[in-house]
């Protein structure tokens, strides 16, 4: 097991490097000169040249690339081109919001999706199953921001229980949770749709296997048959869809954070693009990429617990 985890960790290194390289070059091919963008069109030639020098833009590309990697290793994300603030400080301010949103959504999606999937698989081709299928397909079709708007209209306007916008105060538990409910529900419900669908088909695949019949024939209770024998075998695809969703929820937070005017990584990314803040854009992209690689790593390791055969 330890060996497997170590090999996954080592395998993640080239992926991280490749992704970082991609981000570096993408930001470099964005048209327009970052120094001019930072100073505005009317800046003097000397000022632009001075800033280019200061930002290291006059170095050869390969030197810039290694400087970029070196800074990252030291945890130095540089300063925002537009506001001049330290990016690592900005990230530290908003990261908790995105993290709590993503984790709560994954929790909601799993805790609702897996049981619903098992239930519909056990009652296949009944009314419940049919309704479940339609609803989950609708859940896969609805854009996150639209569901967010609908939920906001219902639970912040028609029945005003929760605040509509903002992220709340991180230090005040109640305000934080109240502001978290609606965005987390939005993303969680979308994930539920997908997890339900996949759990259902994974369970259906497994439930007709011989060993499930054997388990039933032994006289085991239905509960043990479904939860211990069938679910265990269906768990690998379920873990992988949860992993895929975890990565995609990090991205969808861009939308919910926009709808609910919540501080977060997604909102920072959008404003970096809109304001052409190249240094901020580069850093946020790097953080997103690391997130995704990390989630994939965790998923891989989770596989080995779910199905020990994978480690061999």
């Amino acid at each position: 097991m330890g060996k497997y985890i170590l090999s996954r960790l080592l395998l993640a290194i080239p992926t991280v490097l490749a992704v970082l390289t991609l981000v570096f070059f993408v930001v470099r091919v964005i048209p327009g000169d970052p120094a001019t963008a930072a100073l505005g069109d009317y800046a003097s030639q000397e000022a632009v040249e001075a800033l280019r020098e200061k930002m290291g833009l006059n170095e050869p590309l390969i030197v810039q690339y290694f400087n970029f990697l070196g800074d990252l290793v030291r945890g130095d994300l540089g300063a925002s081109m537009i506001t001049g603030k330290e990016i690592s400080d900005l990230v530290k301010q908003v990261l908790p919001y995105t993290l709590e949103l993503t984790i709560t959504s994954i929790f909601i999606g799993t805790i609702l999706g897996v049981p619903l999937g098992i239930y519909t698989a056990r009652h296949v081709n009944t009314g419940v199953d049919y309704v479940g299928r339609v609803v989950s397909l609708a859940g896969l079709s609805v854009p996150a921001f639209y569901l967010g708007i609908l939920i906001m209209l219902l639970l912040a306007h028609k029945i005003p229980i929760f605040p509509a916008v903002g992220g709340g105060n991180l230090k005040d538990f109640k305000s934080n949770i109240m502001h978290l409910v609606l965005p987390a529900l939005t993303l969680g419900l979308i994930m539920t749709a997908s997890v339900t669908r996949l759990t259902r088909s994974a369970m259906l695949n497994v439930l007709k296997d011989d060993y499930v019949r054997t388990a039933r024939a032994k006289g085991l209770s239905e509960r043990v048959v479904v939860l211990r024998h069938a679910l265990r075998a269906a768990l690998v695809p379920i873990v992988s869809i949860i992993g895929i969703w975890a990565a995609s929820l990090v991205a969808d937070s861009v939308l919910t954070e926009t709808v609910f005017a919540r501080p977060g990584l997604g909102k920072m990314l959008v404003s970096a693009i809109m304001q052409r803040d190249y240094t901020l854009l580069q850093s946020v992209m790097v953080i997103y990429a690391l997130f995704v690689v990390g989630i994939n790593l965790i998923t891989d390791i989770a596989y080995s617990f779910v199905d020990p055969r994978i480690t061999h």
Binding site: I30, I149, S248, A251, V259, L269
Partner: protein, 321 residues
């Protein structure tokens, strides 16, 4: 007696011959018929087709461009009750009424007309970006799977890296480079989708190229290009097409997301995502401005998903429950 035997033998031979000659044709015909029947019996898929036709009709007949082209004039609204850009500023944000079924937006423009015109952007982006992503991805996957070796390694590793980013983040990244607007968005979504197609085409190519007919073709001197085109492409195309209909759904959703963020088609051209974005400023005051365009996105994406599910059931009976 002999005559009768002979004629009987003739009949048997004839029957056998026709069976041999026509058998594949008959089998193909009956197989197609069976597939068609499976599809027709799949009620959700038929619902999907019905909804799609509805959206297509909306997009095509929003105005009378097909007549206007010949008469050399500006197209007039046909299905849409009003011009989507016409402003009735006195009644801005008016609620749904008999004159304006879905109300007016913040500039006093008819929401229903803008939804009908907006279907054009969604369909255009959905279809074209999947075409770009599908063709380029399938070609990459086919080339990689077929040639193997270094080419395969490079192509598939690039696809892996591109897939390391969630599609929305990747789309934002490409748009940051290209800048916003309709055609850049189509290109961006196409680039985002291509690695998925590359993967599917790659794995099906690996399966197909081991077949004897590929070896046979090679032994009679067929070149790589011919084998890929004649023997491999037709065999992987069905999987790519099924994937396409599901990814059109996805592409339309990504388009809506990007338009909602504000990177889509430039105003005042109506697009569903940007209509919702405009409406959020007056959400509690005039919810209809955002509500109806969202419903349009939901229905269109659902239609493509239903169709894709139906097609997949047909082509992969194992997945049928």
């Amino acid at each position: 007696m002999e005559d009768r035997l002979d004629s009987k033998l003739d009949v048997v031979i004839e029957e056998e011959l026709t069976e041999r000659l026509d058998a594949p044709a008959i089998r193909i015909r009956s197989q197609r018929k069976r597939l068609f029947q499976t599809f027709v019996r799949n009620r959700p898929a038929i619902l999907g087709v019905f909804l799609l036709v509805l959206v297509l009709v909306m997009a095509i007949f929003a105005d009378d461009w097909f007549i206007a082209i010949f008469q050399g004039r500006e197209p007039q609204p046909l299905l849409a009750p009003y011009d989507p850009l016409e402003q009735d500023t006195v009644n801005r944000l008016a609620p749904p009424s008999r004159e304006h079924w879905m109300g007016l937006d913040s500039y006093g423009r008819d929401t229903l007309s803008r939804i009908i015109y907006g279907s054009r952007v969604s369909l255009l982006v959905g279809l074209l970006s999947v075409l770009i992503g599908g063709v380029s991805g399938a070609l990459m996957g086919l080339t990689g799977g077929f040639l193997g070796g270094k080419v395969e390694n490079v192509i598939m590793r690039v696809a892996d890296i591109l897939m390391a980013f969630p599609s929305l983040i990747m789309g934002l990244m490409v748009l940051a480079v290209l800048g916003g607007g309709l055609f850049n968005m189509i290109l961006a979504i196409g680039i985002v989708l291509s690695p998925t197609f590359a993967r599917v085409a790659h794995s099906s190519t690996l399966g197909v190229k081991e077949n004897e007919y590929v070896e046979a073709a090679r032994s009679i001197g067929a070149g790589n290009w011919r084998i890929a085109r004649v023997h491999i492409l037709p065999n992987i195309i069905s999987e790519v097409v099924v994937l396409a209909s599901i990814w059109i759904a996805s592409a339309i959703r990504v388009e809506a997301n990007l338009s909602f963020i504000g990177l889509g088609v430039s105003p005042p051209t109506p697009a569903w995502g940007s209509m919702i974005r405009d409406g959020t400023k007056y959400l509690f005051q005039a919810p209809w401005v955002s509500f109806f365009p969202g419903l349009a996105i939901l229905i269109t994406v659902l239609a493509f998903n239903l169709l894709g599910d139906g097609l997949r059931d047909i082509l992969d009976p194992k997945l049928q429950n």
